[in-house]
Amino acid sequence: MQRKGKIGISVLLIAAMLTAMTLTACGSKDDSGKTVIELVQYKPEAVDAFEAIEEKFNATHDDIQLKIESPNDAMTILKTRFIREDAPDIIGIGGDVNFSSFIDSDMLMDISDFEGLADIKQSYKDIDKALEYVPEEGVYAVPYVANAAGILYNREMFKEHGWEIPETWDEFISLCDEIQAEGIMPLYFGFKDVWTTLAPWNAMAVGIADADVCRQVNKGETTFTEEYREVAQKMLELLPYGPDDPFAYDYNGACTAFANGESAMYTIGSYAVPQIMSVNPDMDIDSFVFPVNDKEEDNILNSGIDLQFCVMNDCENKEAAYEVLSFLLKDESIQEYLDNQNAVPCKEGDFQLPSMLDGMKKYIDEDRMADYQDHYYPAEMSVDAQIQTFLMKKDVDAFLTKFDKDWIRYNRDIIRKVEDYEAEH
């Protein structure tokens, strides 16, 4: 009998919980007749900046209500929401291969009539254009902020020893020798996390190879063996200046070591600065462009779009979405974001850049930038792992041959698309 009572109570409790939950779930609709614009952005670390922007927007707009969500693992969430046809109005994503496939699937709205685009730096618009598998009519994203990759250095250490920022490859190598001669490790690597191999790789590749090298290869005009040989060779030349076993440390470990002053420089992007500062909050970090060429004027800053906004095709209220975009592009909003995160604004204007970009400022002002080449590599090819293997085996020819062979294997669909396009035009 006692057992029966217990079961009865459990059933009642479950029923009570179910009703309670359905009640709370129903209370979130906005009945005031405002247009609700939903924005999902993929950088949860910037949640504070976006909450401030959301609050300001809603305080100044009576007819539109902006809802910004910054979920964890937003890309998975976005993709599942697309599957169940419940897309938000605006998405904030990076300029990477996901963006390319969203355009390819006709999911994004052409926003070429949006006025704010006029203020965006041309090189970032070019980067977005280059991300399309085949050239499409129209504009599909507003670049918002970018990050920059090159070499981070310990400014205090450089001042103490009187070291200068190198501008050519020879200067860079002799600087590394000089630092090593003083008993300090010049560079640090965290190649245990394979993706970190792409940081120096990209930063050098933009200086050596053309920005649209992947498209050239897809068209069959050149091969990676030809274009990437110098990059691969210079990559190997870096190794002696790093820790004895660069594959023993992961990204976090390398950031920690650099923060603790174990090395003078670290080949990574500006995105690593918050992680480094969390270990050593007083550190004075600056960065410079990877001096990979023999002449300074050939060097190019490696900068990619970190966050851009796209309006979805399903968005019902285009004017309201544009109003949100204009608000996001206001100087105050961008500055709000820059104060919160270390980033390079994509909009023309006089913004206060974070101090760790001092050494790159010239390139940013002159608009001398090119995108990360790995944004064009298909994820399933895992180029990062291939580079790691190459750095262990040190066989340039084998690496480049495999690169070319795998490229054709993993890009068959895209190459066919490019071929069709070329045949038509």
């Binding site: 964890n72 920690t256 603790n260 174990e262 995105y271 690593a272 918050p274």
Partner: protein, 280 residues
Amino acid sequence: MKTKVKERVNWPITILLIVGLITVAFPLYMTIVIAFKQPSEMTNSIAGILSLPKSWSIANFAEAMRVTDFWRSLGNSFIITILTVVVSIVIHSLAGYAIGRNKAKSKFYSFVYLYIVSGMFVPFAILMMPLVKQTAMIGLANWVGVIVLYVVFYMPMNVLLYSGYLVNIPMALEEAAYVDGATTWQTYWKIIFPIMKPMHATVAVLTALGTWNDVMTPLVIMSGSGMTTLPLAQMTFQTQFGTNYNLAFASYLLALLPILIFYLVCQKQILNGVVNGAVK
């Protein structure tokens, strides 16, 4: 003079146990130490990694609880786990009883048994996308849908366990109940259900552990419904370019406690149950 009886030590076993202890205790030590350290105390040197934190402040735990919205996420995890376990025990034990007692004499039941158990071999990854779409279509893209999915996913395993355990329960008990005038339903609830207690504990532990720690199902099914479970909330410590191990480990320790307590309680039940159910 008394001679001390020399205790004999089984050295091979002792060494094995010590090694086992180290492999369990060392990661736990690291977790606890890192959870109390500040990010600035992190180093790459062995001595630095093993050292104790400078101060034993609970600031990390407080911050981790704030960031993950701990009590709400914990509550959500609790609701989903408890409901899944309760529903699983009731439905799966019933199914296990019906199948286990009949599969020897009925082809239909042995087919049903094989059909359900073969579900174990279907990985979640290939079901994910259709499930996302279907749950959205029938309005189950929320925590209720997650529970329904869990109950289905754990069914093959649990039915296998229950019907396997029934082999150890003598038919004589049910026959005796039948002679005393009990219906099948009464026999089940009054005789079989209580006797299967050790298996209930096993099923509860397996199901609860799996449900409590799962990230993928809530992530793809509940995304956008505004409800997070603890593992989902903990993903916030790892962003694309940074991981805060100190907060993350503090949060993992907090998330570990409820399920650890649950396991300790149920483990006792499993051990007790071994002696139950014998016919005298």
